[in-house]
Symmetry: C2
Subunit: 81 residues, 2 copies
């Protein structure tokens, strides 16, 4: 089973990388961009075929390694059931 994990900064946490992208877009002439925030996308291919077990394992991976839960949120998306 494949899954995609979205790791994003929590609201209120400064995101200088996103701000840099926002400024660069402005300099390239793209108007109407209110905010840009950058996060991480992690694609995991698991042996586990049970969606509930896969999601539980992925949540544990996020808590222990993938996300810094002090400043980051994570969302798990299973790609095929």
């Amino acid at each position: 089973m494949k899954a995609t994990i979205h790791i994003t900064l929590k609201n209120g946490v400064l995101d200088p990388q996103g701000k840099a992208i926002e400024n660069a877009l402005g300099q390239l002439g793209f108007g109407g961009v209110n905010e840009v925030r950058q996060g991480k996308l992690i694609e995991v291919d698991l042996d586990e075929s049970d969606p509930a077990k896969a999601e539980a394992a992925l949540a544990e991976m996020c808590e222990k390694l993938l996300a810094n839960t002090v400043i980051e949120n994570y969302q798990i998306h299973l790609n095929d059931a």
Copy 2:
């Protein structure tokens, strides 16, 4: 209109960061992980409210700045219509 852009390495492009995560998960005792690949997630808040125009503008941003289209693919997801 808010949009989320997924930027991932093309198939065949080596991903040492993904490999490092894969090894770290193994060392933490997570079994059954076949492959991990890391990409980028960019959240953009645009003034544009027409979905077709927003998507066109985002595609141009990806081509010009956000993605290195030699080695990366991008996918645009509009979050609200």
